[in-house]
């Protein structure tokens, strides 16, 4: 029995979520089930209205499912947003230190860990910069460091690179992959970009929209490190895109 429990870091079982009531009732998620093994990189892929942000909110504990259950086995879940969501009155270092401050980590320990985490995202020495002094890609890396400062075992990322230019996004894919391998965290990565999902994911959960349901799950067997412009990635992406279009097309009538 324990072996079964240990086999998944995140287990999502029949999760539904409805908002409002009566004729204003909106179902965001309908009976969503999938799981992620420890250290696995899972991409949640879907068009608008597939309830991916709702799902991450439930995983991060800021929302509850209407029915079904989420089991993270007592693991700490960190959430990273599309907008870097850095607090503008704090420095980069101050932002990274914040989750530790909330947990009550002593100041000296905080400082050492902040330096370590900023070095991990290759922003060593920029602790005193303010968010407005950094580029979009640098802000997202500070945000990533801040999520790691929660000492999370499960990293939920809500379209973290969606607003970045292509070159920065490519580089950050490399960086995220490196950090993921170094730290061994489980990643749940939401995106609407099929190639990004194939570039990064061990497994891709394709969600249909309104309500969000699991349409299909793909296990990506491609060797790492991958490149977003490599032919294997393009071939698999084309297959998944066709499937995604089919799902989206059903809403046009």
């Amino acid at each position: 029995m324990t072996a079964v429990v240990d086999a998944s870091a995140v287990r999502i079982d029949g999760v539904s979520r409805t908002f409002g009531s009566g004729s204003h009732r909106v179902q965001a998620l309908d009976n969503v089930s999938f799981d992620a093994r420890p250290g696995q990189f899972v991409c949640l892929l879907g068009a608008s209205g597939c309830g991916k942000s709702t799902l991450l909110g439930i995983l991060a504990g800021i929302d509850r499912p209407s029915s079904g259950m989420v089991d993270v086995g007592g693991r700490r879940v960190g959430l990273m947003f599309q907008d870097s969501a850095l607090l503008p009155w704090l420095t980069a270092g101050g932002n990274v230190a914040l989750p530790m401050k909330i947990r009550g980590v002593p100041k000296a320990d905080r400082q050492a860990r902040v330096a370590e985490l900023l070095a991990m995202v290759r922003l060593a020495g920029l602790a005193d910069k303010r968010p407005h002094e950094l580029s979009g890609g640098m802000r997202q890396r500070v945000s990533l460091a801040r999520t790691f400062a929660q000492e999370a075992d499960v990293l939920c990322m809500d379209e973290p690179f969606g607003a970045l230019d292509a070159m920065t996004r490519d580089l950050l894919h490399d960086e995220l992959e490196r950090i993921w391998r170094e730290t061994g965290v489980t990643v749940l990565f939401v995106t609407h970009d099929v190639r990004e999902a194939v570039r990064l994911g061990d497994r891709i959960v394709l969600l249909s929209s309104r309500p969000g349901r699991v349409a299909e799950i793909f296990d990506v067997g491609l060797e790492r490190p991958r490149r977003i412009d490599s032919p294997d990635v393009a071939v698999l992406a084309a297959t998944i895109t066709a499937r995604l279009r089919e799902e989206v097309g059903r809403h046009g009538h």
């Binding site: 290759r122 580029s135 960086e175």
Partner: protein, 310 residues
């Protein structure tokens, strides 16, 4: 010299073959990333301190000079006799003379003491009321709009009641100063909290901050700009209420800037009247400058100054 490269269809096929056959390498990511970071990092152009001070000062000096000139022109036009409307050449020496007397300073100290005590109380009450109204929906529905109504009420209309309640005492003045300033401060707190971006609150919550911790670490700093605006407006109301109070409620044996002004009027000393008014104006300018420094510093830290736009 720019190198031009023409890519032939054959070369493309070759490049594709390379990327299929050779193991993909992500070496050099760090170097490219470092380059990108260097290009993206803004260096904010700075200016020497003296230049900044001068560019902030000369327009003000110019405005003062133009004002004095206009005033002098009105005096020269003989619109009113000079014992009713004296010129700058009479008032400025009078002001300079006043500043040298101990009476002036003890009056100034009393006035500022009243202002600060009243303002501090108003900050305390306004903050508590603001927090309560923003936190509890019922309270907001019940008294939210009264706070604004109270703010628009001219503070001078409170004085008849204040004098009945407290007679001609310090308390009467304090009462009206607090009532004048607290609503603005409460409104600043309320709108500050209302306008905290929900995303930032969510960030705080996902990091495990709740209740007081969330308020202290996320909500309060996020609301600060609006709170400062409320504090600034609250000061303006406090100062107006205080001046009205000092003219109306003359506490025996307690000279103040306002009572000096009223005394000068009763003795038909127009120079004294205008000199006192100038003192009141100068204090207003200095406090406003202090608020502006705080406001500017806060905005600079958050990258909200026009010259920080990128």
């Amino acid at each position: 010299m720019v190198t031009e490269t023409t890519i032939e269809p054959g070369a493309l096929r070759k490049a594709r073959a390379v990327s299929i056959d050779e193991p993909v390498s992500t070496d050099g990511t760090d170097i490219t990333l470092a380059g990108l970071d260097a290009l993206d990092t803004v260096t904010e152009p700075g200016r020497p301190f003296a230049a900044r001070v001068w560019s902030a000062t000369w327009p003000k000096l110019g405005a003062v000079a133009i004002f004095l000139l206009l005033w002098q022109i009105v005096v020269w036009s003989d619109w009113k006799p000079s014992y009713v409307l004296p010129g700058p050449s009479e008032v400025l020496p009078e002001l300079a003379h006043q500043i040298m007397t101990g009476d002036f300073w003890s009056a100034l100290v009393r006035t500022m003491q009243r202002a600060f005590v009243g303002y501090a109380l108003a900050v305390l009450i306004g903050t508590v009321v603001g927090l309560a109204v923003s936190r509890f929906v019922l309270l907001r529905t019940a008294v939210g709009s009264f706070v604004t109504a109270l703010q628009t009420m001219p503070s001078i209309v409170w004085f008849p009641l204040a004098i009945l309640l407290f007679k001609l005492t310090e308390s009467a003045i304090l009462f009206v100063v607090v009532l004048g300033a607290a609503p603005s401060i409460a409104n600043g707190v309320i709108s500050g909290i209302d306008y905290v971006p929900p995303l930032l609150t969510k960030v705080g919550q996902t990091m495990g901050a709740h209740g007081l911790k969330l308020y202290r670490l996320v909500v309060a700093p996020a609301a600060l700009p609006s709170v400062v605006a409320g504090l600034k407006q609250g000061w303006a109301f406090a100062w107006r209420s205080l001046m009205a109070g000092e003219l109306l409620v003359i506490v025996p044996g307690h000279p103040s800037i306002g009572s000096d002004l009223e005394n000068s009027r009763q003795f038909l000393e127009a120079t004294g009247v205008i000199a006192s008014m100038m003192t009141i104006f100068i204090i207003g300018v200095l406090v406003d400058a202090a608020f502006n420094v705080a406001d500017r510093r806060m905005r600079a830290r958050r990258g909200l100054l026009p010259e920080q736009a990128r």
